[in-house]
């Protein structure tokens, strides 16, 4: 007995080592569960506040390029609107029709402004923290977009901050389609460059070509249909040979993401609650 006690005392650091490693790995794998606490992430109060301060400073560094992009985009959009208006006027003599179309586009969705305060690109699982939380109406599973395209889906929320799973995360899976032909697949990320993602499960008989635009499909409550994702860069066969694998160049530049919008579908809560009720009834 004494020997045993001596043994434990002598090698006590082994037990502490194993204990601490076990705690670390429990935290690591628990985080993969959906309901993981927001405390151990950068959406907790202290970390969020520090990142917010830092991003208030660093946010200015990219303003010039961001401004250039916005001006460019503005000009493009203005030209586009002008063309569309002219085209539309050709079809309908009534100009109030155009106003109605504009309203319809975002009907059923509301947008929340948010700012990225923490971002990473180099991990296998990247996360983005934004400066809006439950207080501002952000809920889990809302979609996040930037001016140029899709960003990701809200994963965890605390009262003032939220963590977003961007496209650049192995857990991310977003339903998408080829804009021209409506064939759909899943947008995944396989690590590597932050400029490219892949589309899986594109059927063999689908029609598309290099340079086609990929947009969200609107099959889920998260994103409305038609939000731009990227353009097809390369086409290969999937490993099982049953579908195509598309390499997509993303429109969103994750390296200098700053202002984003969170999209919430009106009635999303109601729909989720309904689905939740269905699940509990089944049990």
């Amino acid at each position: 007995m004494k020997n045993l006690l001596d043994f434990f005392l002598k090698y006590n650091y082994w037990f502490l080592f194993i204990l601490l490693e076990v705690i670390s790995f429990v935290l690591l794998f628990r985080f993969n569960n959906y309901q993981a606490g927001a405390f151990f992430t950068s959406s907790n109060q202290v970390a969020g506040a520090i990142y917010e301060m830092a991003s208030n400073v660093t946010g200015y560094f990219h303003l010039k390029t961001i401004n250039d992009d916005l001006v460019q985009k503005n000009v493009q959009l203005e030209l586009q609107i002008e063309n569309l208006r002219n085209a539309l006027l050709g079809y309908t003599a009534d100009s109030t029709e155009i106003e109605k179309l504009k309203e319809d586009a975002l009907n059923g969705y509301s947008l929340y402004k948010a700012k990225v305060i923490k971002n990473s690109l180099t991990h296998a699982d990247n996360y983005i923290t934004i400066d809006k939380g439950e207080k501002d109406g952000i809920r889990t599973d809302m979609g996040v977009v930037s001016g140029s395209g899709i960003v990701g889906i809200v994963y965890l929320t605390s009262s003032n901050y939220s963590v977003v799973i961007p496209v650049l995360n192995s857990k991310s899976s977003i339903s998408c389609k080829i804009q021209k032909s409506d064939y759909f697949g899943f947008l995944k990320w396989d690590g590597g460059s932050s400029e490219y993602a892949i589309v899986k499960d594109m059927p063999r008989h689908s029609l598309f070509s290099l340079g086609d635009t990929v947009v969200t499909s609107g099959h889920s409550t998260v994103f409305p249909a038609g939000i731009p994702i990227g353009t097809v860069e390369d086409i290969t066969d999937s490993h099982d040979g049953l579908s195509y694998l598309l390499k997509v160049k993303l429109f969103t530049d994750f390296g200098r993401l700053n202002a984003v919008r969170v999209i919430s579908q009106k009635g999303q809560d109601e729909r989720l609650e309904l689905e939740q009720r269905l699940k509990t009834n089944k049990k």
């Binding site: 650091y13 935290l27 830092a54 192995s170 590597g192």
Partner: protein, 171 residues
Amino acid sequence: MIKNLHRIEWFVGLVLLQVLILNQMHVNGYATPFFYIYFILKFNSKISRNSLMLWAFALGLTVDIFSNTPGMNAAACVCLAFLRTPLLRLVTLRDVDDAFRPGIKTLGVAVFFRYTLLTCGLFCSILLLIDTFSFFNLPVLFFKVLTSTLATILCVFCAELIGRRNSEKRF
């Protein structure tokens, strides 16, 4: 007491430096320096393994909380703290009994370089191995470990050279 206060100062400083600046630094996804382990490297050689591991765990977890990777840095830090004593004994030929604070001054450049190489290499291997669980790609992983280790060593030596000038600041 003063000693602990000093340690906490270093702790906060290194964590902020790591999460606000160094974590954003990379060359095309490679060569991120993990300079915050300098905190673990510089502990006095006489410190007990248990308290070193507890400090390392707290340090790793704090960095984790900021970078949304709960448990990853903590696991790697604890492992580093656990293996620091044997590694230190491996590179130094001196009597284990006298206490010293690892540094260029106490160990000399060559020995300290070997010590940093071993500890940084070990830490980067563990950390990046855990990080790339999902898409395992050996050449990429190897290159990442190599570049990150070099970047970390570079940072540690810079800190050593700066620290030599105002050497009265110790913890």
